[in-house]
Amino acid sequence: MNSLIISISWAILKARWKQTLIAAIGVTFSITMFIALLSFMSGLNEMLDGLILNRTPHIRLYNDIQPSVNQPIDLTKEYKRGHNFISSIKPKDEKLSLFNNGLILSTLKKDNRVLGVTPKIVSQVFYNVGNIDLIGIINGIDVVEENRLFTFNDYVVEGNYLDLKNTPNSIILGKGAATKMLAEIGDIIQVTTSKGEIVQLKVVGYFQSGIADIDNVQSYASITTVQKLLGESNNYITDINIKLKDLKSAPSLAKEYQNLFNVNALDYQTANSQFETGSSIRSLISYAVGVTLLIVAGFGIYNILNMMIYEKMDTIAILKATGFSGNDVSKVFITIALTIGIFGGMFGLLFGFGLAVVIDNLPFNTPSLPTIKTYPISYDIYFYIIGGIFSFVTTYLAGYFPSRKASKVDPVVIIRGK
């Protein structure tokens, strides 16, 4: 019985194969573009997020310079209950270093929600170029851990990042700073620390993040080099960078660590909220365009089926006269619509994947993004599932309304009309 419906649908499809093909090509085209668009857009999002995410700690622990929350007057008995106005509060002369950092580090390493922790010193310096002083920042890092957690090596465009650990008093210069200082690898450069001391460092590599403001200022050295530079002891660190197993838990864990260690904690989401917004809006736009394409294809199918029904009035009438019910007739046209949707959709998914592969292999070289060689593409299976379901649903709806019309055809009217 069902195979009978399918064989009738198939016969009508074959009799009108050109119209059917055009409808199916419409679906194929829209699904292809849907997949390619989403893959490209998500690839771009992932790349941009990756640029930030790879380099940014999920939680950063540091000491902020800020006035004390508890002022002495609030602690006195008499004025405790009042609302006290104090003007001209200055922050306490407090060190930027994290107090008791050894204990913090070992506690965090034992926490099984944490993927890894790495200490860091941020130190302001001047790069000396002849008479000119350029403002700079030298980050003291644990070279091996920094590479493991934040893919440091990806951004070292020349030289070997391990030299930072193996060569004493070495530095990896930001690409922009290096250009200004005309410093080649192997050269010795001179920096002035914030305390006025002049130190000589050997350039072992260049660092390029793709963000000019960072590359003009930032440089990297090993943690011991920076401690020496600042004349501090070997337990002086200013930041602890944490990478978590689950990025989503960063805000809540940041709060927890802030209370536990009595330091400032900044989570990834708070620090980079603008990227999240950008990504979600880009995805939204690509979904909107993709869905629009599919709806247009759906209207195409609707029109073609409507035309088919007008052309096949006689067939419908005689099927009804010989004992096919309205429901059977409607099934025939829904089968036709779904056949168009399923075949068109399948080819659309295949071509969409093909187009994504082509885009993925197009060369894309930009000096600002040293790690990117081709256009970014995401191969998320999710897009293919959505595309498949959508082609099915739109073609079903596009077939549903014409098929209802077909089921209501009155055979008497058609047969008498002859």
Binding site: A11, K14, T315, I318, T322, G323, S325, D410, V412, I415
Partner: protein
Amino acid sequence: MQEKILEAINITKYFHDPITVQVLKEINFSILKGEFVSVIGKSGCGKSTLLYILSTMDTDYEGSLLIDNIQMKGKKEFELAKVRNQYIGFVFQFHYLLNEFSILKNVMLPGLKFGKFSKKEVEHRAYEKLKILGIENEALKSPNQLSGGQKQRVAIARALINDPLIIMGDEPTGNLDKKNSENVFNIFKELAEVYNQALLIVTHDNEFASKTHRIIEMEDGKIIKM
């Protein structure tokens, strides 16, 4: 007395568009098994309208219709479709074969819809029916390769496929020349006399009607002679 296979009781019908006109006025008659009945009358006397009511395709009427002693009034659309499929065979003025299918498949379609027999058996039966009509050699051709007379015979074979209680025809010879008309008449006659098949044929060909068992003559929506 032979059993009644179709009975019309007080069938009355109005057309409402553009103005209300009564087209059928209290039609009462019945058909027995193996009877070859023709309905004649002038154009517009309501004979085709009556046929479509009797065939269950038109449900907008007053009175009642019994097929095989079962009341048709009030049945749902899909139930009526089943009745048409199993109890009624149709032959129209125009052949209404489906060009998408071969002759054989055209004959088989109502049988496949019935689902009583397997596909193989339906095919075998279709060949048998085509053989009765002498066109078994054309079985695998497409309908548009056949002449008008042959097409009409295919339509009769299609009407016969489910061994219906009654065959209804709306001017089945209206589009055919004299020779083919006679052919079709002889086939009907053979079906009635050899296979004991009941037939109800609407025609305006008085010569055709005169050779049938019973003539029902209509005028202005009423039966005037029966």
